[in-house]
């Protein structure tokens, strides 16, 4: 099998990887680099729990090949806290009890960071529309919206 060498900057660490070109970004993060924060839910771009930031934009890591992102900067949930200081959205999710089982939470938080960067969190309705790519089967949506509103309002 021919492997393709790529470099990824993940959460501030440079990784040089020799990958089977068919490996998705999600599998590269989870299986090769060992960062299991981004979850594999549906593997078909519907549930959103694999959401990561690539060069600052939120994408589904399951729907893209890792070799497509040579040289890219990737942020996963493991890269958000500063030591023991949580990212404001992580803290808001705890304060607002915005999860039950937690499986969707890494994707929700990364998606919310993308949303805030896009400037599309100005109302509850807008947050709901632009968080529509992240499902929560426990139904924590009202608290997820509240957590995002807290952080959007503080900015």
């Amino acid at each position: 099998m021919t492997r393709t060498e790529i470099t990824l900057s993940v959460n501030g660490c440079q990784h040089t990887l020799a990958l089977d070109p068919r490996v998705t970004l999600l599998d590269a993060l989870r299986e090769v680099i060992g960062l299991t924060g981004a979850k594999k839910g549906c593997d078909r771009g519907e549930c959103g729990t694999c959401t990561v930031l690539v060069d600052g934009r939120r994408v589904y890591a399951c729907l893209t090949l890792a070799v497509m992102h040579d040289g890219a900067t990737v942020t996963t949930v493991e890269g958000l806290a500063d030591g023991t200081d949580l990212h404001p959205l992580q803290q808001a999710f705890i304060s607002r009890d915005a999860l039950q089982c937690g499986f969707c939470t890494p994707g929700q938080i990364l998606s919310a960071i993308g949303l805030l960067a896009e400037g599309r969190a100005t109302s509850e309705q807008e947050i709901r529309e632009f968080m529509s790519g992240n499902l929560c089967r426990c139904g924590a949506y009202p608290n997820i919206v509240a957590a995002i509103r807290d952080v959007a309002g503080a900015q």
Partner: protein, 279 residues
Amino acid sequence: MTVARPRTLAEALGALEATPDAHLLAGGTDFMVEVNFGHRRPTDIVALRRVVELQGHEHADGHVTLGAMLTYAEIEADLAEDFPALAAAGRTVGSPQIRNAGTIGGNVGTASPAGDTLPLLVALDAEVDLAGPEGTRTVALDEFITGPKRTDRRPGEIITRVRVPRVTGPQQFLKIGTRNAMVISIACLALVLDLDARRVRCGLGSVGPRPLRPRAAEDFLSGEIDWDGPRAAPGAVRRFAELVAEACTPITDQRGTAEYRRHAAGVLARRAVERSLQS
């Protein structure tokens, strides 16, 4: 499996010449689902996302050229003034994460009957630019898409741009699905009142094997509208909706029945006209 990652159009055409059966990969939002579930086992891929000539959009005389790798997120953010209905269609595609990946060239090249940008593009008589071993050519989108997921793309060719004429007048995009986000449309419709040409332009999606232009309905309503308003009598709008429904050639599938789709297209047609007219 090999993945070529060209940076220029010349490199991309060269890679396609070297692996003629390669799959052309844009945003991957359809293709990767098929790969992840083993429905497709590609041997070679030419990935176009980083080809510089395929990025961005440009204003030209009377039209805007959209680079094939323009994403739905960029359409939504950057083209709302030029093509409000295209921006609206972009905003209904998948989710923000899908819209950061999916591209206009992918939507055209995949040629799904449910492609959300296609109804407006056919309504505006958009054209597709292709580059290939024989040089470049331009084809009307209406002719380029020949059937469900079938196009007139020839071996070795790459979609480079979509040329969309600028038209003055109200535009609407309406879509029916089971929820607002993350659905493939059951029926969708784009409507443009071309005030300069005094023509109604309409495109339909998910109600036929390819995007449809209901020409008889367009001709009828173009003659009924008082273009100085623009205004139209309620009876004319109802008749337009009937003619749009008659133009549909839908199928029954897991998303909806043919009968429902035909009915829905008529309802969307009426709503789109009502929202475009002066009341």
